[in-house]
Amino acid sequence: MNGSISRLFAVVLLLFGLLIVWTSRWTVIDAAGLQHDRLNKLSLYASWQVKEGQILADNGDVLARSVPAGGGTWRRTYPMGSLFGDAVGFENIELGQNAGLEQFRLPALTATQQTTLGAVFGPISSSSVGNDVYTSLDPTAQALARTLLDGRVGNVVAIVPQTGAIQVMYSNPNYNSNDPFGCHGAGCEVPSAVAGEYPPGSTFKVVTTTAALNSGMYNPQSTIVGNSPLEVSGIPLHNDGNQSWGPVSLTTALVNSINTVYAQVGQNLGRATMAKYMARFGFYSEPPLDYPDEEMIASGERSSAGAPLQPVSSTYVDLGRMSIGQGNLLVTPLQMAMVVSAVADDGTLMRPHLTSKVVNPDGQVVEAITPTVYAHVMSPAVAHELQSMMTQVVEEGTGQAANLDGLDAAGKTGTATTVGDIDDAWFIGFAPATAPRIAVAVELTHIANGYGGVYAAPIAAQLMKLLLSEDL
């Protein structure tokens, strides 16, 4: 009998070995797979118990904070409501859904400091507190952008050219971060300042001019015949009002936004040169913003909104029309703000960013965002030439509505025809013209006879005036 008992105990040993092996499977061997199973809500539930840090404006105003939601859980609330909807995004902790800066900075907002004691025994306290995220957003200017848009559909982006710090990023319509699903209609689903697809119209002539000057093939005095119409890709292209200008300088062509001149310049520069300068400005790349990639879109030629990008080298691209910002070119307002920012910063494009620093609950800076160069787009000499050409646009050309007293602005208008006489009105500009400290892009969607110089330029001017006055 004793032998049988020993053997029975051996069977028990085997059974218990089985239990330990299976426990190892779930705790160690298959643990990673289990933790990422879509049914596993443990990390979501854990996030409910974390008091996430605040998101703050450059003046310390609170844009997002956590408030108790009962039972040791927290929820997000947004004191500014819809003013920073696209920029800050939202987080619904209960559903585990988030967007915008709330999503991009989630690791910082939920970062919990692990002490040595905590590593051994687990956090002693039941709630953990995350880091605060400071942004460069300016609530006063953001509010002014909303006032100036006055309910019209459109976008405003303002960047400090020397640092890439974004001070204004406002879109209409804009969801209220406290109720992200309460916004209905076009523009609600995407942050249109970084994901909207608009034809840039004549504002793109700044890119074409950059390529023309920096490649050495043209200078501001180069003469081109600006008669209208001009056959481009087999279809007649007209100037505004079908006006024929005769031989004009490149400067005159920019000041008066002469389409037929720029179509010839673009075609003469060729696909490769245009592609090179567009790439330097950030076209055809995911915007380099501290924002979720899946919520942004690259600017460039597309057969239609949402379709794949078509490289400039493709014969499907109408090079002449692209050079004046028409054809199938679709851009984001952020992209055009980056274009004008590079001109204002003497040819150097700084990487744009919303975040300025991450600060832990003890007040120590955990991460400081230092300005970094995205691309050297053009030489400072070319940038200075372009700056003075754009100054003339405001002083004597299409952008005179931006010529406010004591502002000294420079810029370029854009009027992109969409359907019939419904236009997208654009203005990209910077100020002061001689020593730029702020760059803006303003876009108004679907305005009847919406000249950029009439609708967008005044908004840009007033905004720049406010930002410069605050800056003093």
């Binding site: 009998m1 053997r7 105990f9 239990l19 499977r25 705790t27 298959d30 049914l39 409910w48």
Partner: protein
């Protein structure tokens, strides 16, 4: 290899070392120290976790518990001076650990109830030893015991099922699990019955290399098989069925030393279980949840794989070292909705693994294993067949109960809600297992008693 090692662990009767004088009673007393230290430290950890404050209550509870254990030890010292010195401290460690787990999972009220059950369990332990001082008297009542046990086993069938299985009887606020007591009774009966018939059963003819018992003696085997099937059929519980059938098959194997019984028995069980599990809806759903716990539809179905899948997630959270004592997520934060249903009873092993990790869970299994080894050792040292079979059966059924619930939680087998002995919250389990331990200690005392140094009545 594992056989020879297993033999070296449980030892051999002939080589057993007898200790002079104290028979390890002082070792038993010192063995209680870790138990009360564990209780004190564990309760202190829960206090810190809950309120960031240390209370002297943990010390007081620790002291009271130590006092109770010392009383239990003194009682053993007087009544069973030769008994195995490790069994009682191991049980105390498990009970203390269980009390701390219940405290951290359900809070002070439930912990107090569990402590009261522990005290009642100790009373029953003392009562069992006093009444059946010579446990072989039990043999006289074996038919009474088997009828009572079978009645207890089917009793829950007349009450409402819990999660589809008939395992508990609820009368008003009181709920108890009669199967816990039935397991002890059935082991006593079978040990006694096979003591008488084992020679007959073992004397079979050898056909094609397999020992077949005379046909008329196949009866008991068929009876066991029938009982396991009836448990499946009536109680809808695969786990209980495995536990009873496996435990009784273990006794049969030790009684007859016939592997053929085990093989035939297991095959018969597999066929029957397969047939019934495909024909009883509740068992079928348990098997489905076991096979596909992460199926989205099954997960969200009532009575689906929600509990089992969440148990896996909790264990994955634990990792090697655990997420920390009292850190397991049991309810959905901010609500009272259960994330892990039955955390202190069926799912306590998942909670332990989450909080203490693989190492903690493995350590717990090792404590159980040592307890079971001491049980088998008592069986080996025992000098009469009834004692051997009784200790074997009790140890085996204890091991199988642990295997059924831990295996169910870790998905080795389909989940059945039986208790984790001495740790799960619940009175029936603690009471029944204290009776089981009392019987083991009595067998052990008798086995290790030096010949002639006894005052007991030697009969038969």
């Amino acid at each position: 290899m594992i056989w020879s090692w297993a033999r070296s662990v449980v030892g051999r009767g002939a080589r057993a070392v007898r200790e002079p004088r104290s028979y390890g009673r002082n070792r038993e007393l010192f063995g209680l120290l870790p138990a009360s230290l564990l209780l004190t430290a564990g309760l202190a950890a829960v206090f810190v976790q809950r309120s960031n404050s240390l209370s002297d209550a943990s010390l007081i509870y620790g002291a009271i518990f130590l006092g109770l254990c010392v009383l239990g030890h003194l009682f053993i010292r007087v009544t069973l001076p030769h008994a195995d010195p490790y069994i009682f401290p191991l049980v105390a460690v498990l009970a203390c650990f269980g009390l701390v787990m219940v405290f951290s999972i359900y809070g002070a009220t439930f912990a107090r109830q569990q402590a009261q059950w522990f005290v009642l369990g100790l009373v029953l332990f003392v009562g069992t030893i006093l009444v059946f001082r010579d446990y072989r008297k039990l043999e006289q009542y074996r038919y009474l015991i088997v009828i009572a046990s079978l009645a207890l086993l089917v009793l829950p069938r007349f009450f409402a099922p819990v999660n589809g299985a008939y395992l508990a009887v609820s009368v008003g606020p009181v709920s108890f699990q009669p199967t816990e007591f039935a397991k002890v009774g059935l082991v006593i009966f079978l040990a006694s019955y096979l003591r008488d018939t084992r020679q007959l059963l073992a004397s079979g003819r050898r056909i094609m290399g397999i020992n077949l018992p005379p046909l008329k003696h196949l009866g008991p085997l068929l009876l066991l098989w029938g009982m396991a099937m009836v448990i499946l059929l009536l109680l809808h519980s695969i786990g209980s069925s495995i536990m009873f059938y496996g435990g009784l098959l273990a006794i049969l194997y030790v009684a007859t030393s016939r592997v053929s019984f085990v093989v035939v028995g297991l095959l018969a069980f597999a066929v029957g279980a397969w047939y019934l599990s495909t024909h009883i809806a509740h068992i079928d759903s348990r098997v489905l949840a076991w096979e596909h716990p992460f199926n989205g539809t099954l997960y969200n179905e009532p009575g689906g794989s929600f509990q089992l899948a969440n148990a896996q997630f909790s264990m994955a959270q634990g990792g090697l070292f655990g997420s920390g004592f009292g850190r397991a997520l049991l309810t959905v934060p901010g609500t009272h909705a259960a994330y892990l249903p039955a955390p202190g009873t069926d799912m306590v092993y998942a909670v332990i693994t989450d909080e203490l990790g693989l190492f903690g869970a493995a350590a717990l299994l090792c404590v159980y294993l040592v307890l079971i080894a001491r049980g088998f050792k008592a069986a080996i040292l025992a000098r009469d067949s009834f004692s051997k079979l009784l200790a074997t059966g009790l140890s085996a059924i204890l091991a199988l109960q642990i295997f059924v619930i831990v295996g169910g939680v870790t998905r080795v087998i389909p989940l059945t809600g039986v208790t984790l002995p001495f740790i799960s919250y619940g009175g029936s389990s603690i009471l029944a297992n204290f009776v089981l331990v009392a019987l083991l200690l009595m067998v052990s005392d008798r086995a290790r008693r030096p010949a002639g140094a006894t005052v007991s009545l030697e009969h038969a």
